[in-house]
């Protein structure tokens, strides 16, 4: 039964993603029917969509656009008290929290150091966050498409036009999907209103304030764009964000839909679908393995707390299995929305979630970001093992040389830098340590989770950890920037360098980058270069907690 349910789920996911990939390939290739709207849209902003960009100008456009987004969002958050659409009279955000929130949404992390219903006006939610949900996702998608072009397109010097790619991502992919999903969610009972909170009297006579607002629209894009920032503080565990099993399944699917589609899009743009399937297979195998661990541990539960599944921190409506699926999807896909409190998962379930984020969000990952992150591992895997066939390593006919390796190593360093250095400081500085709720290894897991989530631009929180202190809002804000742009810029540079190379024809002497052998190699590269780096800290966190639990000790 469980197996059948999962099979149906993955079948639906793959089927939908395959269709979407075909659509995406047509959109990014340019459809004459849509060109008029695109041109009119961009010309109104004074942008010439025909101008082809080198990797440098592409990267500059990304950075400039994101900087403007940051400034606007920061201003809205600070000034929201004086701005309209604020029925509950919420005041302006503190500077450090506004900085953290603005960075978080611009980088597609959507780390929530705030609680939406208490600290954000409707204007901030709609014009601030929801807009960023679209354009930060669009940025990731545009960058991914540019990177794919660098690897697959014919020899040239340019990667496309960022503004055009961004517009296409938002207008033709994110918007239509969001509209459909938002309508579905509204039908399932998610509120979509501009009226303020209602005050109700409970059966016991006590007064309670029930927050509501334009939630459905924001939740749709939060899932589709791997954003994850909820309308309400407790995210998709809130009955208004995620009222039913149907809404839960629809959201679970939406989290992975675009990231999975990017694998297939890669194969299509490479003109060799097997290349896309190979990357999908590597991601899929790791995902299923991680999901299996979480599922087994959550369904088995903790004998110390009695028999039955581990239901602490989970919604009765969803149970252990749907919570496990969500937890695996949201950490793998850099989404960060939660329908259960990850802090309360079993230690090794937490380990899986940590690993999913620490390897750089490359198991499906963020929209676009997951694919270009995985291409980083592909470059390293091909470079390491490609020599073993007796040729200078090459991927899709293009040689991987010193420049690509240097850039890949640079991008790669951002993960240990953010997680290990950021985490070590947070585990040492007394100011930072106040955030930790639990003693022992579980406390360390909380720190690690926060810094892994920020570096991987995931945005989910372990819960139980005080993220709102000034130290962490600032440190995590900086690390989110590192995790986003220290990947984007080198990867665009790699793409810019690859596209200048002549493609060598495929012969029987070519290193095969499809098929089970390559998939195995890619998985091993991710595990050995990515996960193993964090083995020591994971041993002190979740592994130590698990061994202690087995010995009957809890934290």
């Amino acid at each position: 039964m469980t197996f059948l349910a999962y099979t149906l789920y993955f079948g639906a996911l793959i089927g939908a993603a395959l269709c979407l990939a075909v659509w995406m390939a047509r959109v990014y290739g340019g459809m004459p029917a849509l060109a008029g709207v695109e041109r009119a849209f961009l010309r109104s902003g004074g942008i010439n969509p025909e101008r082809e960009m080198t990797w440098g100008s592409y990267a500059m456009a990304v950075l400039a656009f994101n900087l403007v987004c940051f400034v606007v969002l920061f201003a809205i958050l600070r000034a929201q008290g004086a701005l309209p659409l604020n029925p509950d009279g919420i005041g302006g955000m503190s500077p450090d929290l506004a900085l953290n929130t603005a960075v978080s949404f611009v980088t597609n992390t959507n780390w929530q150091a705030y609680s939406g219903e208490a600290q954000l006006s409707y204007l901030s939610q709609m014009v601030g966050l929801t807009v960023q949900n679209f354009v930060s996702a669009g940025t990731g998608m545009a960058v991914a498409v540019a990177v794919i072009r660098g690897f697959t397109a014919a020899k040239g010097a340019t990667l496309g036009n960022f503004w055009l790619d961004l517009t296409r991502s938002v207008l033709w992919i994110l918007l239509p999907l969001s509209v459909v999903l938002a309508l579905f969610l509204a039908w399932q009972g998610v509120p979509q209103t501009l009226q303020g909170a209602v005050t109700a009297t409970g059966v016991e006579g006590g007064e309670q304030v029930i927050a509501r607002g334009p939630a459905a629209a924001q939740i749709a894009i939060k899932q589709l764009g791997t954003n994850g920032g909820g309308f309400f503080g407790v995210n998709s565990a809130h009955p208004f964000e995620n009222p039913t099993i149907a809404s839960n399944l629809a959201q679970s699917l939406s989290i992975l839909l675009i990231p999975v589609a990017f694998c297939f899009l890669f194969g299509q743009m490479a003109g060799d679908r097997r290349q896309g399937w190979a990357i999908f297979a590597a991601m899929g195998i790791m995902f299923v393995a991680g999901l299996a661990v979480i599922h087994v541990y959550e369904v088995a539960g903790n004998p110390a707390l009695g028999m039955g599944a581990n239901m602490e921190g989970k919604e009765q409506r969803f149970g252990a299995m749907l919570s496990a699926l969500w937890a695996a999807s949201t950490t793998a896909a850099s989404n960060g929305s939660v329908n259960a409190m990850h802090d309360s998962f079993m230690p090794l379930s937490g380990l899986v979630m940590l690993v999913f984020m620490q390897i750089g969000e490359v198991i499906f990952g963020g929209v676009g970001a997951g694919l270009y992150g995985m291409l980083l591992y592909v470059v390293l895997a091909v470079f390491l093992a490609g020599l073993m066939v007796g040729r200078t390593p090459e991927y899709l006919g293009r040689k991987i040389e010193g420049r690509e390796v240097t850039l890949a190593v640079l991008a790669f360093l951002s993960m240990p830098l953010g997680i290990l250095v950021g985490g070590a400081v947070a585990a040492t500085v007394p100011q930072a340590l106040t955030a930790v709720q639990d003693a022992g290894p579980h406390g360390l897991s909380e720190i690690l989770y926060a810094y892994s989530s920020a570096t991987g631009n995931n945005g989910s929180a372990f819960g139980g950890w005080g993220a709102a202190g000034t130290w962490h809002t600032t440190a995590l804000g900086l690390i989110m920037l590192l995790g986003r742009y220290a990947m984007i810029v080198p990867l665009l540079a790699i793409a810019g360098s690859m596209i200048r190379k002549t493609k060598a024809p495929v012969t029987s002497g070519t290193f095969p980058t499809h098929g089970p052998l390559f998939v195995t190699l890619l998985i091993l590269t991710v595990l050995i270069l990515g996960a193993l780096t964090f083995f020591p800290v994971l041993a002190l966190g979740p592994i130590a907690e698990e061994t202690a639990r087995l010995a009957g000790q809890s934290f």
Binding site: M388, V389, G390, R391, V405, T406, F412, P505, L540
Partner: protein
């Protein structure tokens, strides 16, 4: 060389390498290898800490010094490997240097000056552009080109081939190499190389590794190794913070040990040895690479341009079949053909006799008093007149028809046409006025060539045959040899065009050539192998020079290039895969104090934390020295498709790299316990 001499030679090599492993500790040389440089710094730090503890009487000094010892050994082993690789080249360089003696040479004012007007100068002061008169017995002082005269030259000093070769002014055999000796006659040579820049000088520098520059792939790999080292630095430097959060303190010495075991010391230590050994293998094959880049490019070659003559065929037409005319006994034809060729010393004639021996089991003896009729340009016939009046002839079709006054019968005529169509040469054999049959002479494809090309195809390399033959002949030979494509009636321009076309399609092209008109193509090709006997222009344009002037070498060069890359990749994969076991050895050892439950990670069941850390460090050093022979010899390489190679090497070096250290570390742990060292 006797066995004892060889042994002495070897021990000399090892002694030199051991000396090298210490002298190479000099930071100025060591920093060129970042991984080993870092290891040496950590080793020095550990030594200082160990000594401090020893002086202050702090417990644990013994372990620290023990760890330091093995860290130093790791660095020394890496230096030893490099020293050994260089030593093998140096032995050859010394032999070469011996031929570079200072002599007096006769310099002429210009190319046409009389030898008596020559002035004597010291050979080492010769400058490019001067003219030198050389006579029998003279050692050619430096590289140059014969501009007048003809001489036979003994080039055994550089090629090992004792038969003298002809060098003459003009044409494609004008190049002379310093260090070789004039065997007979005389030439006037124009000096082409500045002092110290001659071919011999370059060769010495090359085999010694003195001018060794890192190749592009080696540089890229080094960057990755530095990157990995940095990542592990983050891991180790942040560990005390996490440990102290968890309520435990990790000694600095332990962190040092963890760091060195994690960073890729195995490949870092062997990388340059692999490179030097690769060049050495090429030198052993008597090929000199002007740069390491060319050797790497050789591994990447997609298209091989091969000259037909000498590479694919023997270059002489040889008898392939003897077809009798209707009504003529086959045995009679063979005997007649053999008799007509008995006294013929041309390769064609010899091949007919050889073919007859093969068909009859024996050849007819030279009849007493028989008279040889040699081939002339007028008759285009040759043969034998016997004393009993019988006359045997073989020759061109029209010549034999004219001689006998007869035309071959229809069936035979059809055979003659078929032979001509297939690209072969038909020769008619006649006795008196009777036409007995036809000999099929053809360009014989060398045995094994077909299989070789099939191997190359499996490796993804396309072979293109270059020939001056007409398209018909070329197609026939191409089909027989199994090349993928051919270029008939090839001119240097066509060769150059072909190379450009292949390169535009993203293919890397290798070719060999010797003539001056090959120079543009040699320069255009990604891998150009010039024959040492070729012209200076060709040698200048090429990036590899084959001292044996054997065009088949091209294939060998490709193999050496591939083997070099495979060795590098295999050891890198092995080195990185080793980290898994090392984590499982060291982590439980350092964390078990904080969380006793983490003992479950000690899956190898190592005796104690101290023995676990020591075992990992010792394994790290021992695996380096254990892999030195593999690094020097190169990973075994059989031609196969990339997928097959990847599967095999991934299994051996990837999976092996995962498993071997588990076994090794456990074994060392058992030894340490047995020896009571930990």
């Amino acid at each position: 060389m006797s066995k004892n001499e060889k042994l002495a030679d070897m021990s000399g090599l090892y002694a030199a390498a051991i000396r090298q492993s210490v002298t190479k500790l000099d930071p100025r040389t060591l920093w060129r290898n970042p991984v080993m440089f870092v290891t040496a710094i950590v080793a020095a730090m550990t030594t200082v800490l160990g000594l401090r503890d020893l002086l202050t009487g702090t417990p644990g000094a013994g372990v620290a010094l023990h760890i330091a010892f093995w860290l130093w050994l790791c660095v020394l082993f890496a230096n030893f490997a490099e020293g050994l690789a260089e030593g093998r080249g140096r032995a050859r360089a010394d032999t070469l240097r011996a031929t570079k003696s200072e002599t007096k040479v006769r310099v002429l004012a210009d190319a046409d000056a009389e030898p008596v007007t020559a002035t004597e100068v010291i050979s080492t002061t010769l400058r490019a552009g001067q003219f030198v008169y050389l006579a029998a017995g003279d050692i050619i002082p430096t590289d140059g080109e014969a501009v007048r005269g003809i001489a036979s030259v003994n080039e055994s000093a550089i090629t090992g081939e004792s038969a003298p070769v002809i060098r003459e002014a003009g044409g494609d055999r004008s190049s002379v190499t310093g260090g070789t000796t004039i065997a007979s006659d005389w030439i006037v040579m124009k000096v082409m190389a500045e002092p110290g820049k001659s071919f011999l000088d370059r060769m010495i520098a090359l085999v010694e590794g003195a001018e060794r520059q890192k190749t592009p792939n080696e540089i890229a790999l080094n960057i990755l190794l530095v990157g990995l080292t940095l990542i592990f630095l983050f891991v180790v430097v942040t560990l005390p913070a996490f440990a102290s959060y968890s309520g435990t303190v990790i000694p600095v010495v332990t962190l040092a040990a963890l760091f060195v075991t994690l960073i890729p010391t195995t490949i870092g230590g062997l990388l340059s040895a692999i490179g030097i050994a690769g060049m050495d293998r090429l030198v052993k094959a008597n090929v000199i690479a002007k740069s390491g880049r060319a050797v790497e490019a050789a591994g990447d070659v997609d298209t091989l341009l091969l000259d037909k003559t000498g590479t694919i065929t023997f270059g002489n037409r040889m008898a392939d079949a003897l077809i009798p005319a209707p009504g003529v006994d086959a045995r009679r034809l063979v005997e007649a053909a053999a008799l007509a060729s008995l006294a013929d010393e041309t390769p064609e004639g010899k091949s007919i006799v050889e073919k007859a021996r093969e068909m009859l089991g024996a050849i007819p003896a030279m009849p007493q008093g028989a008279e040889f009729v040699p081939f002339t340009a007028q008759t285009r016939l040759s043969g034998l007149d016997l004393t009993d009046g019988r006359r045997f002839r073989k020759g061109a079709i029209d010549a034999v028809i004219r001689l006998t006054g007869q035309t071959p019968p229809g069936a035979l005529s059809a055979q003659v046409d078929a032979i001509a169509r297939s690209g072969g040469t038909p020769l008619l054999v006649a006795e008196g006025t009777q036409i007995l049959g036809v000999v099929h002479l053809k360009d014989i494809v060398k045995p094994g060539v077909r299989e070789r090309f099939a191997e190359l195809r499996a490796m993804g390399i396309r072979t293109v045959m270059i020939t001056g033959d007409n398209p018909l002949t070329a197609a026939a030979i191409a089909a027989e040899a199994g090349v993928d494509d051919f270029l008939a009636e090839a001119t240097p321009e066509m060769k150059l065009d072909l190379i450009r076309r292949e390169q535009a399609g993203g293919r890397l092209v290798a070719m060999c050539g010797d003539g001056s008109n090959d120079a543009p193509a040699l320069a255009q090709a990604d891998v150009g192998v010039a024959m040492n006997a070729g012209t200076p222009a060709a040698k200048e344009a090429a990036n590899l020079i084959d001292l044996d002037s054997d065009p088949t070498k091209l294939i060998e060069v490709v193999m050496v290039g591939k083997q070099l890359l495979i060795s590098r990749g295999a050891l890198t994969t092995f080195s990185i895969a080793n980290d898994v076991a090392k984590y499982f050895a060291v982590l439980p050892a350092i964390f078990v104090a904080a969380y006793p439950g983490l003992a479950v990670l000690n899956i190898m069941g190592l005796a104690s934390p101290t023995s676990a850390i020591l075992s990992a460090v010792i394994f790290n050093a021992l695996i380096l020295i254990a892999l030195v022979p593999l690094a020097l010899r190169g990973v075994a390489y059989r031609p196969a498709t990339a997928a097959q190679l990847l599967r095999r090497n991934l299994l051996v070096y990837g999976l092996g790299g995962l498993i071997v250290p588990f076994v090794g570390i456990k074994a060392i742990d058992l030894c340490l316990v047995a020896l009571n060292l930990a």
